[in-house]
Amino acid sequence: MSERELLIDADVHEMLADVEEVYPYLPGHWKDVAAQTYWAGQSVFATGAHNYLWHRSERGDWDAKGASGGTDVDATCGILFDHEGVSIAILNGFFHPGALIGSYEFNAALSSAYNDWQADKWLSKDARFRGSVHVVPNDPRGAVREIERMADHPQIVQVFLPLTYHYEYGDPLYRPIFEAAVKHDLAVAFHHGAHTEVGGRYPRYVAEWHVLAAPCVGMMQLASLVFNGVLDQLPDLGIVMLETGAAWLPWFLWRADENYKEFRWEVPWVKRLPSEQIRAQVRVSTQPIGELPIGDFVRLVEMARCEDVFVFATDYPHHDGDSASTLAPALPPDLRRKIWADNALSVMPRLARSLDPVPA
């Protein structure tokens, strides 16, 4: 890998050392609620999930270099930019108020506070960081206001939505969020969390959850966006599916196309084949590449004709994170350039604009 090769990391998890770090960014009333009510002190990282879904689960070698669960800005810069060769790191957080159930006003206040904390503590510290707007999906008007509030920040490149079984993002209820993202040239990124149930429940074991949650709900939401016409009606909308895995994609493209041909009568507002929409507008992170041999991954990309779909991600600092050095040797140069940077840039206009001039 040449030192000058642009490497965009689509999935970095900066982390609060303590939830109290966001309190100074909350307006008075909500600060009192956070600090002085029953809410105070509860775990907001894994509420309702398995009690051993860690909120700190850093990869051993990164931890040894001071990752501290993604709480340390300097350590993160050293590991990602110096050691891992990342040029640009997109922050997706690990505290996701938008995934909390109910109390949308309070959760919206927490989202705004977190966005300001992210800008203060991370974006302002290194020009190579890019950020997300965290919103509460079930308060679409509030979500649009928050997008409008944050959109002028030059390092903000996407809206973050929690990947959840409970909402169906293709529902017209959520359309204003996607419209606001397009209006401001922001992509929309989805990422699962401890809140992500599989088929409306938690499997009995974490092992099951870790296999199923992100890909199953990712596929569900992708189908929702396709068949409700979100991608068709907003052709400039870019979607980034993070940590949902890779190998389901060929099957999904074939199956979605086949069912579109079968049920087009039900959804005639869908005007393009699902595979065409996805290849043009959806990006899927390579992480977790896991035990999939890279050679098989390359064949999978060819098989599904999705060389424009995958984007590189480390999932820093998490234990199942990937390094570019693992993927690089087996990727043909053209495909590597696409996965490293071109594919992300093609659906993330704000990211592309922010790289002018491209950093060395």
């Binding site: 017209p172 086949e258 041909k261 087009r264 507002w269 869908v270």
Partner: protein, 117 residues
């Protein structure tokens, strides 16, 4: 080669019939406007015999938002998976760039349906 099949009024609008001509299995369709079309009697998706339950329907197209409307144009719906087949081109409506089914010209001569095979 032209083959005289049957009187024009033998099929009602919306009806289909399989005919065997020179060893070919061909689907003859009468559309709602009374005109005729003909296709190879196999679906290119999974090989269904189209005459065994295939239906003539009006084509639905997108309207405003998540709405749709019917057009006057007819499609043939495959009996197996419901794929819509364009009766003029033989293409799948949802995927017009994919393979097209073979179509045959049909004309009416002396009140009879005549197929050009």
């Amino acid at each position: 080669m032209k083959q005289k099949l049957f009187p024009e009024d033998e099929l009602a609008p919306g009806e289909v019939r399989a005919v065997a001509v020179n060893g070919r299995d061909i689907l003859v369709m009468r559309l709602f406007d009374g005109s005729y079309r003909a296709l190879r009697n196999r679906c290119l998706h999974m090989g269904a015999r189209l005459s065994d339950g295939g239906r003539i329907e009006h084509l639905r197209v997108a309207g405003e938002g998540q709405d749709y409307r019917f057009t006057d144009k007819c499609i043939l719906r495959c009996p197996w998976h419901g794929f819509e087949i364009d009766v003029d081109t033989g293409a799948f409506v949802a995927d017009p760039k994919s393979r097209h089914n073979r179509t045959f010209a049909v004309e009416l001569v002396d009140d009879h349906v005549v197929l050009d095979v």
